[in-house]
């Protein structure tokens, strides 16, 4: 390849990088178009903002942890056990991955109301924990463990629970970590179902209070929204930078289950 062409490609790449970074510049310039001290002060005296942050942390952490646990146990059963309706269940779970969140709004409202958990954090945690994606993801990961390994564990006298906890789980540590990150990110920014099951401001998550701030007409919501955006975005970015490779290859390997992307092959 000629030097001119190389230079041209580098230039095009630089243009793209500029465009991709522009929204970050938009956030920063938005920040400096207000008096930062006043903005921080008004946010500081807003207890509901910290409630929203605490709610978001509690909900997304608990829901992701539950989804990973249930994903691992149910994924193990789907991958290595025989039971009636196994194919049907797997098909239903695979299809559930594609259900758009808005479709679930009305049913979630109704179910949380009849369970008596409407407008509580449980109404945010439990629906998010019932993740078909998590089960499919872990089933695909556990499929990679040969059946002979499980049989060998049984022969050596390990019980069912022992086999799962001491043979299966250690082998799927990387996919589990990736799944936890994916679940965290999606729960952290969830909007549709929370809109349907939460009513009072003290139960708002960050995204809900962002929507509420955007609709109100008070003069300071912009500074407040800026802080909210930062709070919403930062954990995802931090988690991602910590585990970038695992997250990307973990996400992709569910789509490319016929192709190994991880470096550990």
């Amino acid at each position: 390849m000629t030097g001119v062409r190389r230079l041209l490609m580098a230039l095009i790449l630089a243009v793209f990088i500029t465009i991709w970074l522009a929204p970050a510049v938009a956030i920063i310039s938005e920040a400096f178009s207000h008096d930062p001290a006043a903005a921080m002060a008004s946010n500081h005296h807003d207890p509901l903002l910290f409630t929203a942050l605490a709610n978001t942390v509690v909900v997304s952490f608990t829901a992701s942890l539950l989804a990973c646990t249930l994903g691992a146990t149910a994924g193990y059963a789907l991958s290595k056990k025989r039971f009636y309706g196994r194919k049907l269940l797997f098909g239903a779970l695979l299809a559930s991955v594609f259900i758009p969140p808005t479709v679930m709004m009305a049913p979630m409202f109704r179910i949380t109301a009849s369970l008596g958990i409407y407008d509580t954090l449980a109404a945010l945690i439990l629906p998010a924990s019932a993740s078909g994606f998590a089960i499919v993801f872990m089933k695909v990961a556990i499929d990679r463990i040969p059946a002979s390994v499980i049989d060998a564990a049984h022969i050596d006298g390990l019980g069912e629970v022992g086999t799962f906890a001491r043979i299966v789980l250690p082998q799927v540590r990387a996919p589990l970590a990736a799944l936890f990150i994916i679940e965290m990110i999606s729960n952290w920014g969830a909007l549709a179902v929370p809109l349907a099951v939460i009513d009072r401001p003290e139960n708002y998550t960050l995204t809900l209070s962002m929507i509420a701030a955007g609709n109100s007409l008070t003069p300071e919501p912009r500074a407040r929204m800026l802080l909210l955006t930062a709070l919403i975005v930062l954990p995802a970015v931090a988690l991602f930078l910590l585990k970038a490779r695992e997250a990307i290859s973990g996400t992709l390997s569910t789509y490319f289950k016929y192709e190994r992307i991880d470096a550990d092959t």
């Binding site: 490609m9 095009i12 790449l13 793209f16 990088i17 929204p23 938009a26 310039s29 938005e30 249930l70 994903g71 146990t73 149910a74 059963a77 056990k81 025989r82 039971f83 009636y84 239903a92 559930s96 594609f98 259900i99 758009p100 808005t102 479709v103 679930m104 709004m105 009305a106 049913p107 979630m108 179910i111 439990l126 629906p127 924990s129 019932a130 078909g132 089960i135 049989d151 049984h154 069912e160 799962f164 920014g189 909007l191 549709a192 995204t207 962002m210 929507i211 955007g214 955006t229 919403i232 975005v233 970015v237 991602f240 970038a244 990307i248 290859s249 992709l252 789509y255 490319f256 016929y258």
Partner: protein
């Protein structure tokens, strides 16, 4: 226990432990997935006395806002899917030229994918702001008048689609970069030596070599295009101006949350789910077969 080990036929039997491992997940899934699915179907068929049980279906199929939403969904997809694929492919090719910086570049372009759609919508609402937004600032530097992108009935939906391409192209780039690395470089170089240049090389060598990844990307983008909701809510507030940015997914939300039309929302939900399943079935067969035959 010993029987299980020494008689392989016994393995074919149902293992009761399967239900132990499944039980917790099934309990939650029954409440929050299976029951809702059944409930939606029944709601779409519920009716008042004197009306037929398909009246909600007939109402929806006859309503102009339904067809407007279908058109909007397709219009959005027609910008979002090709836009993300073309830009994502170009990005992937550019990134794979760099050996040392490639992970850094992939991370940079993939970061927007991690942004929750609601936050992405908020950032782009600032970008499109007619007074203080970056895009209008650049326009006025070039001497053009400011445009209120999100309030113009013809510009609002394309503007949202462009914001979504910013996310979609990064996703496609990450998928394609991985696929491009798996293809030996000699492939393209041999084709060039054989005299295939420019477009011919692109169509006959470069694109087919990453075909499975391309099909997966298209599949993900099409599904996204049908699901998109949060960014429309944040950027326009109500799917406006008029109905011009209300897609099928947003109409489900509006029917239920704003118009309290449960039957209508249920009908639209079923239409939406079936269009997604149709797309998955149409697009998904392809890559897996192609890869397995190799």
């Amino acid at each position: 226990m010993d029987d299980l080990i020494f008689t392989p036929a016994a393995k074919r039997h149902v293992d009761p432990w399967a239900y132990v491992f499944l039980a917790p997940a099934l309990a939650l899934l029954a409440l929050f997935l299976f029951y809702p699915a059944v409930w939606i179907v029944f709601s779409s068929l519920s009716h008042e006395a004197g009306h037929s049980s398909v009246s909600a279906w007939i109402n929806e199929l006859e309503s102009p806002s339904f067809w407007r939403a279908i058109l909007n969904t397709m219009y959005f997809g027609a910008i979002y899917v090709p836009g993300s694929i073309v830009i994502g492919y170009v990005l992937a090719r550019l990134i794979s030229q760099h050996n040392r910086m490639r992970w850094l570049l992939v991370i940079l372009f993939f970061l927007p994918v991690l942004l929750p759609s609601a936050a992405m919508g908020l950032v782009w609402r600032w970008m499109y702001n007619p007074d203080t937004g970056m895009i209008n600032n650049l326009l006025s530097l070039a001497g053009y008048p400011a445009v209120d992108w999100l309030k113009d009935s013809h510009l609002a939906l394309p503007a949202i689609a462009v914001a979504c391409v910013w996310q979609g192209a990064g996703l496609v780039a990450a998928i394609l970069v991985v696929a491009i690395w798996a293809v030996p470089r000699e492939f393209g170089e041999m084709a060039t030596l054989d005299g295939a240049g420019g477009w011919r090389r692109l169509i006959h060598v470069d694109l087919p070599s990453v075909k499975p990844a391309l099909v997966v990307s298209i599949l993900l983008l099409v599904i996204n295009a049908l699901r998109i909701f949060a960014s429309i809510l944040v950027m326009t507030g109500d799917g406006g101006p008029g109905n011009w940015t209300t897609n099928l997914s947003f109409l489900v939300y509006r029917k239920w949350m704003k118009e309290f039309d449960l039957g209508g929302a249920a009908v639209l939900s079923i239409v939406l789910c079936f269009s997604i399943i149709l797309m998955v079935v149409l697009l998904h067969r392809h890559p897996v077969r192609g890869r397995e035959s190799q």
